[in-house]
């Protein structure tokens, strides 16, 4: 009769979907890890000296045919830049295919083979099935991200930048999972859904290839998720603000799909079953949106980490030295960066809320805009918390700061996800900040918890500013 029951069902379904996809997911993750490992190691081996690397950049990397496959080389003269280039071209395409395949398999295959009916007959809302499928695809994408990150780290690339580079690839998988879900709603059969999804991949690839190989058409890159991954520019002047695009695109598409699922209708008898069982809010548009926003909370927190990673990158590239030799105080610089990160995160959160509302409205589902904006704003307490902690890490252990920041967020989120699935004691579960986020719009905004997180974040940020005032600037 209570929410844990619904969580239990959801967990079972996610587990089921993950087991169905385990061979594919593990194979992809292994491939990503291996490919990521080979890039830096191979490059160091083949081009040990800077002169070799520069010669490589001037000859091979500038070649149009090569760009066709690998994309635009922003900086192929460094080990990291080379790896980012190679991965941006190839793994991003594989990630796109993985996203489409994962979503279509999870959403449509079950349905087409009739197994979905068995599940649905078990008094479960169609939406719950959908959410479970998307959750499983999300977990698969997270695994790809992890595999790729581990591969780069094994290839001796720095932890923070490796995580960011893998994030660039993972965003592609996330957006195309959304595309796959949409294709499932539009297409009458699984095969057609798959073809539709892959067609979108192909068009995106085409746009990227044209953008990378034709002068004057570089702007086309902004029209394709594959191009966004390139524009994140890992290892070559990172632009973490571009993360806004894949996050918004995923939000918009999943918002639309969710709305269309509810309008597709669930049989009255099943609805009664749900109501009787009290499977909770997940079966309503509001509940679904609450579920989706858990991932936005994560995404915006990761965005904060990326901002600190960018600050560190600026220091490592010695641009900060040039800047601080001007009449710019350190507190002003870092404080400004934190404020900018916060404003961008706030804008991102509110726009995600507004887009979800727009997506739902476009499908004729009426939801309260203020409530969805509140759901967006609900992303901010954890963001402030992690931004503050990341700033403190940046001030105290600059070289490890990005790794620590991403690590904190990932561990905290996995703790909640795995903890909830395994049913660990409440006391342990509440160690993670994500357990203290109210599921707006279903649940109320948890003001007390938010205040505590904001306070900790602010104190950590202030401590970070004070500590940054006291240390040497550190190059790579």
């Amino acid at each position: 009769m209570s929410a844990p029951r619904a969580g239990g069902i959801l967990a079972t379904l996610v587990g089921r979907a993950l087991r169905d996809a385990r061979t594919r997911t593990l194979a992809f993750a292994y491939l990503f890890a291996l490919y990521a490992y080979i890039q830096p190691v191979g490059f160091r081996h083949a081009y040990p000296k800077l002169t070799d690397r520069l010669a490589f950049v001037h000859s091979f990397a500038g070649n149009d045919a090569v760009r066709f496959f690998y994309g635009y080389p922003y900086d192929a003269s460094t080990v990291g830049g080379y790896s980012a280039w190679r991965v941006g071209g190839t793994l991003a395409i594989l990630a796109a295919v993985f996203g489409v395949l994962g979503a279509v398999r999870a959403l449509r295959t079950e349905e087409d083979t009739g197994r979905a009916e068995i599940v649905l007959a078990g008094a479960i809302a169609r939406r719950t099935v959908f959410v479970a499928a998307i959750g499983a695809v999300g977990a698969g994408v997270a695994l790809l991200w992890l595999g790729e990150t581990v591969g780069f780290i094994a290839g001796s690339l720095p932890v923070g930048e490796s995580a960011y580079l893998a994030l660039a690839t993972a965003t592609v998988a996330a957006v195309f999972a959304g595309v796959g879900a949409l294709a499932c709603q539009l297409a009458p059969a699984r095969r057609i859904a798959l073809e539709l999804g892959n067609a979108v991949v192909a068009v995106s690839l085409l746009a990227r290839v044209v953008a990378d190989t034709s002068s004057g058409l570089g702007w086309l890159r902004w029209l394709t998720p594959l191009g966004w991954a390139e524009e994140l520019r890992p290892f070559a002047g990172p632009q973490p603000l571009v993360l806004v695009l894949p996050v918004l695109a995923t939000a918009l598409v999943l918002g639309m799909v969710s709305a269309s699922i509810s309008s597709a209708g669930i049989s009255k008898s099943i609805r009664r079953e749900i109501a009787r069982l009290g499977t909770g809010s997940i079966a309503t548009p509001t509940g679904y949106v609450s579920f989706v926003f858990i991932f936005f909370v994560l995404a915006v927190s990761l965005f904060a980490c990326a901002q600190i990673g960018a600050a560190r990158q600026q220091e490592a590239d010695e641009q900060l030295e040039t800047l601080l030799a001007l009449p710019v105080g350190r507190v002003r610089w870092l404080g400004g960066r934190l404020l900018l990160a916060l404003c961008a995160a706030a804008a991102l959160s509110l726009v995600a809320g507004a887009f979800t509302w727009a997506g739902a409205s476009a499908q004729g589902v009426s939801m309260s805009l203020p409530r969805l904006l509140e759901a967006g704003a609900n992303c901010l307490p954890t963001t402030v918390l992690f931004l503050g902690l990341a700033a403190l890490a940046y001030a105290l252990v600059p070289r490890a700061s990005a790794g620590i920041a991403y690590g904190l967020v990932s561990v905290a989120f996995l703790w909640q996800l795995v903890g909830a699935l395994l049913g660990v004691p409440k006391l342990l579960l509440e160690l993670t900040p994500f357990a203290h986020v109210g599921l707006v719009p279903t649940q109320a905004f948890r003001g007390d918890d938010a205040a505590v997180m904001l306070a900790i974040g602010l104190v950590a940020a202030c401590a970070g500013l004070a500590a940054f005032r006291r240390r040497d600037l550190l190059g790579t």
């Binding site: 900086d75 002047g237 030295e321 040039t322 601080l324 030799a325 001007l326 105080g329």
Partner: protein, 362 residues
Amino acid sequence: MCRTGLPGRTGRRAGRADVPGVSENPQSACGRARRANAARWTSVLSMSSAVAPPPSPERSRSCTIRTERLTKRYGETLALDRLDLEVYEGEVYGYLGPNGAGKTTTIRLLLGLHRPSAGRAELFGLDAWADPVNAHRRVAYVAGEPFLWPALTSAETFEFLGRVHGGVDRAYRDVLVERFQLDTRKKIRALSKGNRQKVQLIAALATRAELLLLDEPTSGLDPLMEMAFRECVQEAKQRGQTILLSSHILSEVEAVCDRVGILRKGRLVDEGTLEQLRHLGAHTVEVTFAGPAPTLPPLPGVHAQSAGPNALRFEVLEDIGPLVAALAQAGGETIKTLTSREPSLEEIFLHHYDGSDGHVGA
């Protein structure tokens, strides 16, 4: 014999102790430093020859850069060891030293980018670590490695840096762009190292800052651009700007610097005007003879070696007189040519880095 190093430092301390009663001028620290310097030179010079202390052209000027026992450790490494450095207003100071001597460390400490382990650094009398922002309003800096923003063009970089610094002489900047032949429409990532260096230099020079901290500013520049750089330094000097020029291009330092400091393993091992440094170095005297070279008796302070079948080379530390007398006695009529020259900065420099024990001796 010891030329600087320990005796110099002893003399310096003695000089400081000897003048407690002298009234202090407003720039008391500088005054003290000048007296200490004079005492040092006196003590140093009295060991080699009885030359009066050199006239101090800085007497009426104030200190732009001053460090006091400035020390920096990185873990186990002692990068800078109790550095006492004074650079006066309007002076071009050549800061010499091999790689890893502590030149860049000094500049980073002066800019407050790194924190001193001990001692202090001041720019315009402002503490470099505690109050960097106020000092930086009057400073322009050229970093050793031209890392800039790869996605910006040179023009955008100038605009950005100029806006952050404030007070840029745009007309002069255009002159500099012309002089350094820089294409300002290109993005930084498309520029070679030399061209990036030009971007940094132009941005720094165009601020017309009172103090220019230049960390190997001409690395990567071609000889033509090197000449353009020297011209700029002369202009800056005429405008009364102070320059700290870290370099290991000796001809550059020789051409533009008023005073030179030589750094080794984090310590200032020699300092003075080029003339003073030369005076302290060994003269080289080369003599060729019509017949076989005669054998001379050993002379104090003179090191002789063969320089060919009929020639001798002498390194003379003190006066040349005894050598000339000895040559005349040994067969003056067979001398065909006799040349005498002062040591080049290169020789002084190499002289300081020959030994491996860190002890400075002639």
